[in-house]
C-alpha cells in the first residue's frame, strides 16, 4: 500500500483491487465450502459477537464494535492443557497440545484494532518460553479485517498509535468505499493465498484515496507521552480517586483484546480430570493474594494502577508491546461507567500539571 501511495505521488496511477458486497458473500461462502472455519460478526441476543458462520447471510456489516474481542480464537476462555487418568496403579497424563485441533480458521470483519490486538497477544505469548497453544492457533488463523467507516465516543485507536485503516496484524484488510464495494489490501502470504484461491471474485479498479473513506477520529492523548509520565506516577494519589467507582468485576479484562492473564485450575477428582487454563483478571482481589493472607495489591486502587501501568508502562518497557489497542470495549462493558479514554486523558492532564509544578519549583 505504502509503495502504491508513493508511486501515485509521482503521478503514476496504480490499479487497486476491489470486491463487491455480493462477491464478498460468495467469497465468504467459498471459505466455508473449502472446509475452513469462518468467524464473523453476527447477532446473538441483539448484540454483535464474532461467531462461527453457518450461513453467510447472517454476517453483519453494520457495526462499530463487537461486544467481545476475537482473542478467544487464540486464547480461549477455558482451555484444557492436560488430562490425567489413574489406571492400574499408574497416573497417565495426556498432553492436550499434541492432539490440539488446528483447523484452518478465517476471522472476517475484525476491526484494525482487533487485528493489532491478536498480533500483540501472539507476540506476548511467544516471549522467552513460547506457548505452543497460542502459537498453533495463530499459525492457522487468517485475519480478514474491515476498516472503520464509523466510530463511537469510546474509540481511541488514534491515541494509541493505530487508526481506523491500520493494516497491522491483518492478512487482508477491506475498506468499504462507495456502492457497496470494498478496497482489498492483501498484506501477507496467508492473505494472498486466501484471495488468490477465488481471484475471479475480485476486480482491478482505479486508484482511490483510502483515507477519504475512513472515520475521522481525533487523537486525544499520546500513549508514548503517557508511558513517560507513568514511570514517575506510582505513588500519585490519582489512583485512589480514579478507582473509587471500580467494582473489581473484571469485565474490562474479559472484553479486552490484549488482556492475557490466566489462572490454572484442576477439574475432576484425584483419579481422572483435566488441568484447565482460564481467563483471570488483575482487578480481582484474589489474583495476587498469598496463602499467608498477605496481598501485594491489597486495594482496588493498587489493582487499577496495575492495570493501567501494565498496559501503558510495563509492557512497552519490557516487551516493546502496548497493552491497549484503543478499541474502547472496557469502557462499553464497565457497569460503573469507568471510561479508559477519559481516565487516560485525566491522567495525562494531572501528571502534566504535576510535572510542570516540579519544573517551576526547580
Amino acid at each position: 500500500m505504502k509503495k502504491q501511495y508513493e508511486r501515485s505521488l509521482k503521478g503514476v496511477k496504480q490499479e487497486m483491487t476491489f470486491i463487491t458486497r455480493d462477491n464478498l458473500l460468495v467469497f465468504l461462502r467459498s471459505i466455508i465450502d473449502s472446509g475452513k472455519e469462518l468467524y464473523a460478526p453476527q447477532l446473538r441476543a441483539e448484540k454483535i459477537f464474532f461467531l462461527p458462520v453457518k450461513d453467510v447471510s447472517s454476517v453483519v456489516f453494520d457495526y462499530v464494535q463487537t461486544v467481545e474481542s476475537p482473542k478467544e480464537l487464540l486464547f480461549p476462555k477455558v482451555e484444557r492443557m492436560l488430562s490425567y487418568h489413574y489406571v492400574d496403579g499408574k497416573m497417565n497424563v495426556t498432553d492436550c497440545s499434541r492432539g490440539q485441533k488446528t483447523a484452518d480458521r478465517v476471522l472476517f470483519g475484525s476491526r484494525p484494532c482487533d487485528a493489532i490486538g491478536l498480533k500483540t497477544l501472539a507476540e506476548f505469548f511467544r516471549q522467552d518460553i513460547p506457548d505452543t497453544f497460542v502459537q498453533r492457533r495463530q499459525d492457522s488463523l487468517t485475519v480478514v479485517s474491515m476498516s472503520c467507516a464509523g466510530s463511537d465516543e469510546n474509540c481511541f485507536c488514534t491515541s494509541v498509535g493505530a487508526g481506523p485503516g491500520d493494516s497491522t496484524g491483518s492478512d487482508v484488510l477491506l475498506t468499504p468505499v462507495r456502492d457497496k464495494r470494498y478496497l482489498v489490501e492483501c498484506l501477507t502470504e496467508k492473505g494472498k493465498f486466501l484471495v488468490e484461491s477465488e481471484k475471479e471474485l475480485f476486480d482491478e479498479g482505479e486508484e482511490i484515496n483510502k483515507e477519504e473513506y475512513l472515520t475521522k477520529l481525533l487523537q486525544t492523548f499520546s500513549h508514548k507521552e503517557i508511558a513517560g509520565k507513568l514511570s514517575g506516577a506510582f505513588n500519585n494519589p490519582i489512583w485512589d480517586e480514579a478507582s473509587l467507582r471500580c467494582l473489581g468485576c473484571g469485565a474490562c479484562a474479559y472484553v479486552c483484546p490484549v488482556c492475557s492473564c490466566f489462572d490454572i485450575q484442576d477439574e475432576g477428582n484425584s483419579r481422572k480430570g483435566d488441568r484447565l487454563r482460564c481467563w483471570d483478571s488483575c482487578g480481582f482481589a484474589l489474583f495476587t493474594l498469598h496463602t499467608s493472607g498477605h496481598n501485594p495489591r491489597p486495594t482496588q486502587s493498587t489493582r487499577w494502577r496495575q492495570r493501567v501501568m501494565h498496559k501503558f508502562s510495563y509492557m512497552p518497557e519490557r516487551y516493546n508491546l502496548l497493552g491497549c489497542v484503543g478499541c474502547g470495549r472496557c469502557s462499553r462493558a464497565c457497569p460503573a461507567d469507568m471510561n479508559l479514554k477519559e481516565e487516560l486523558n485525566a491522567l495525562d492532564h494531572i501528571l502534566e500539571e504535576g510535572r510542570q509544578r516540579v519544573e517551576e519549583r526547580q
Binding site: 490466566f262 484442576d266 483471570d280 501485594p296 501494565h310
Partner: protein
C-alpha cells in the same frame, strides 16, 4: 515433561516424607521416568510448580542442593488447597512437578567470600538449597554463618540438620526463638532475628548476606545489615509472589516490569530498592 506443552509436568514419586514441624513436611521426590531424571538440572534458588492431580498446582522452591543428584526435595506448610492435599499424601504416591524456573543464587560470584545466612521460620527451605550447595563446595568460601529463628522451638524446621550444622567446626550456627517460644531445655538464643543479628555484630567486610523470612523479619533485618556496613548489592533475598504459570505468562507475580518467576526469585536488596513495593 514435553517441550511442546510448557505446562506439562514431570511425574515424580514421593520417596520419603519427613515431618519437620507442626504442619510442615519435606518430600523427597524422584522422577518416575529415567530419561527425565537424566535430563533434569537446576541451580540453587530455583523453584517449581508442584501439583496434586484434581487439586491444582502450588509454587515453592526446590529445597535440596543441586550437588545432591538423583532427587529433589521440597518443604511446604499445609496452608491452602494444594498444600493440604500434598500433606495427606504418602510415600509411593505420584505428584506433578514443573520446573526448574527462575534465577539462581550466584555462588560463582561469591567465591572467596564469607557467607552469612539469615532465615526465619518456614523461609529456611529456600535457603537450605544454597546452604548445602555452599557446604558441599566448602573450599570455595571463607566463613559460613547461619542465623535461624522461628516463633517457637517446635516451629524450627530441619531439626536434624540444625544438629548436624551445630556440630560442624567449619561453620557457625546460631538459632533463636521469639521470646516466649522457648522450652525448658532450649539452648539457643531467645529474641527476634534482627535483634540477635545486631548482638552478633556481623562483619560486612568481604561478606555476602542472604536473607529469607517473613516480610516483617526482612523489613527489620535490612536496616541492621546496613548499620553494619553491608552494601545493598551484597544482600540477597528471594521474593515469593503468588504465581500460577512460573514462565512469565499468567501475569500475577510482577513487581513493576519485573517478573518474580523469570527475573527472580533471587534479588539483591539493591534491586528491590528500585522496584515498587508490590511484593
Amino acid at each position: 515433561m514435553s517441550l511442546d506443552n510448557i505446562y506439562n509436568p514431570y511425574l515424580m514419586r514421593i520417596e520419603k516424607v519427613t515431618e519437620e514441624a507442626p504442619g510442615v513436611k519435606t518430600f523427597r521426590l524422584d522422577f518416575t521416568d529415567d530419561s527425565d531424571r537424566e535430563r533434569f538440572a537446576f541451580g540453587a534458588g530455583q523453584f517449581g510448580e508442584y501439583s496434586v492431580f484434581g487439586e491444582g498446582e502450588s509454587t515453592f522452591c526446590i529445597a535440596s542442593s543441586p550437588t545432591r543428584k538423583d532427587y529433589i526435595e521440597c518443604t511446604f506448610r499445609e496452608a491452602g488447597r494444594v498444600t493440604s492435599a500434598l500433606a495427606r499424601m504418602e510415600a509411593g504416591e505420584v505428584i506433578g512437578f514443573r520446573g526448574p524456573y527462575g534465577n539462581i543464587f550466584p555462588l560463582e560470584e561469591w567465591k572467596g567470600k564469607n557467607l552469612l545466612f539469615i532465615a526465619g521460620g518456614i523461609a529456611l527451605p529456600p535457603m537450605r538449597c544454597v546452604i548445602w550447595n555452599a557446604l558441599d563446595m566448602r573450599d570455595w568460601f571463607k566463613d559460613i554463618t547461619i542465623l535461624y529463628g522461628a516463633r517457637t522451638v517446635d516451629d524450627l524446621v530441619y531439626k536434624h540438620e540444625l544438629d548436624e550444622w551445630g556440630k560442624r567446626t567449619d561453620m557457625k550456627l546460631v538459632t533463636t526463638v521469639d521470646p516466649g517460644g522457648e522450652t525448658a531445655d532450649w539452648k539457643g538464643k531467645i529474641g527476634f532475628v534482627p535483634t540477635v543479628l545486631e548482638q552478633m555484630s556481623p562483619t560486612s567486610s568481604n561478606t555476602v548476606a542472604i536473607v529469607c523470612g517473613p516480610p516483617v523479619m526482612i523489613k527489620f533485618t535490612f536496616p541492621v545489615l546496613e548499620k553494619f556496613g553491608f552494601d545493598s548489592e551484597m544482600i540477597y533475598t528471594t521474593l515469593e509472589n503468588r504465581m500460577k504459570c512460573g514462565v512469565g505468562k499468567c501475569g500475577r507475580c510482577n513487581v513493576g516490569s519485573v517478573y518474580v518467576c523469570k527475573d527472580g526469585p533471587v534479588f539483591t536488596y539493591r534491586q528491590l530498592q528500585s522496584l515498587p513495593p508490590e511484593y
